[in-house]
Symmetry: none
Subunit: 194 residues, 4 copies
DNA sequence: CATGAATGAGAGTTCATTCAT
DNA sequence: GATGAATGAACTCTCATTCAT
């Protein structure tokens, strides 16, 4: 595939992303994507064979960028607590966003697939987030900003709460207050004084 | 559309439930259900007009039974801690079950729908569970079996963790140890000694 | 078939008539009639086997009554011209009525069927009307109220104009003025002074 | 829906025309047309969305051609009376034709539709025919070939007679003699000597 | 590479007709 | 007689996928 192709491929993925944001994963058809991209029906097949393949690529792009964003926010110099707060704030924003989010599509995708554990991006991101939080907490404990008995357990617990909030936000609706209250609960458990 | 044979209606709903367990919500077709029920194409339409309608009925049955189960387990005489343990054990079983669970279908259904907050069964069940856990904890605190500063907050937090575990189980896979570890973490936070 | 049946049969035909008035002939289904009658699906088949059969019966009733009406209006004592006027007035009313008329259904029915000439009610009515008009004109000529060279030809011509007006009313729309103008044209041709 | 192949579009319309000739308008299905055209089920939908749309296009073609034919026959040099005769002869042929005529379908179509007066092709053709006949008669009167008091009224009357003959031909059957007699009646009224 | 017409499988839906009760 | 549940054929419409250009 030449250079031009790479560009078009990118364009398709970006456009398809919008479709997935709009309709989730399961009900998206090749036709939907063709129409969104305004390309020819056959043209799409030159690049991808199925919505599954397209979604996987969309997901790959998504997570690559996500990693960038993450490391970006961490590079800033700040106290450990600040970083943790920043991270949680970021999660909150993501959580509450109803537009432009792939969340539902991602869940639907993983409902459908028997993805080998190792290749499961959702899992990889979850585990990586746990590790980061754990390190943040450990750093905070060291500096005596935070209190924590079982840093790994706490980190994991936080992530499960965030997952719980995320799915709740998508299925039952969750207000900003609810999220704030949960975050406060978590921080309080860490001996964090606002 | 009258009630026709209540028995057949029931049969259809039970059979459709299996289909939803198998395929989730979004990709289930009337044809899938017709075939699973081994009834005629037109026959299904005597009872229901759409998969949406069928799913809602399946859901109603499901939650009615769920309520029964819940109150059933509470009737037993036991210490507060035991009841809480029992409840969490129940949740764990439910969580880890990959067969015969409507979880994915329910999530997909609520992804799709703009359900008014008050009619959102998922939400109602969540809120009701929070209240029950809260009462259990309060009872435990009174009997000095448990320790807790903010019972309502803790109850809600527990439920979000459970939600997080549930969606994680469906999308990234979660082992029994992971669930146990999480439950232990929660119980530990309540000053519960195993 | 007992008495009760005859009554129900009548009821079905009267109700079916409304359906044919509403939808024409070709697109009426047995279901339409069942629903309009509020009887059971199977019940209708005890009386009739098809919409075709039902329509034929409706038509029979219709024309029987029509004959009555016709002879009724003729019984009055009046000058020949008055009777002719009365007849044309009646036709005009019928022509312009868009509600409660079987006209379209009848046309559709005869489009569909290869009805033997002798059994064709439309034709029988047409011919009978021609004869009546002819006699009226002849009577008028005798009394020197009217002028006419070829009474049969004129009578037939009048009927074709009326048919033309009728179909035009159903397909292109025809105003009262248009009908009046035509009737005046006809009467003028007969030397009729208003 | 683009224009796709104009040729195939044309082919579909021509084939569909035959179907409408055969079955009228109301009972024609997309399937009928698909089968007549021997194209694929989905293929037809690339060109048209409904039988209604197809019929409208068929009708458009039909009337365009009709206009051509009409102006064609008028271009010939001939006495006014000859042209009128020619026109009526044409109508007669059309009237008596039981094959290859859209007449029934057109009537059924207009039964079904609430077509705005201005867009009603049937009406437009009727009105246009009235004007043409009127002009022919006027020309004939001028040349003293014909006699006529109210040329417009007569023209309209002729058209209603023709309409009456047309619908009679489709519903009760009309012999050639009947038509001839009627035409003779009309011509006689115009002082036309055969 | 790219297009878009064409195909045919498959899902939705309606209804005539039958039949057990 | 009467009911209405049940069946299955027939239609509508959509879309994944292919292929000639």
């Amino acid at each position: 595939m030449g250079e031009k192709s790479a560009q078009k491929r990118k364009f398709i993925l970006e456009t398809a992303r919008k479709v997935f944001v709009e309709k989730g994963y399961k009900l998206v058809t090749m036709k939907d994507i063709v129409e969104a991209c305004q390309i020819s029906r056959g043209g799409l097949y030159l690049y991808f064979d199925s919505t599954r393949e397209i979604f996987q690529e969309v997901l790959r792009l998504e997570t690559e960028e996500a990693d960038d964003v993450f490391s970006g926010s961490i590079k800033k110099d700040a106290t450990t607590g600040d970083i943790l707060l920043l991270f949680l704030e970021e999660q909150k924003k993501e959580l509450l966003r109803r537009e432009n989010t792939l969340t539902q599509a991602i869940y639907e995708f993983y409902f459908d697939q028997e993805v080998p554990r190792k290749e499961n991006i959702l899992r990889k991101q979850f585990d990586s987030a746990v590790r980061i939080i754990q390190r943040l907490i450990e750093a905070g404990v060291e500096k005596e900003e935070l209190y924590c008995e079982d840093c790994e357990g706490t980190a994991r617990n936080i992530m499960f709460v965030l997952e719980g909030l995320k799915i709740a936000a998508q299925t039952m609706g969750v207000t900003e207050e609810t999220v704030d209250r949960e975050l406060r609960y978590i921080l309080h458990g860490l001996g964090f004084e606002e």
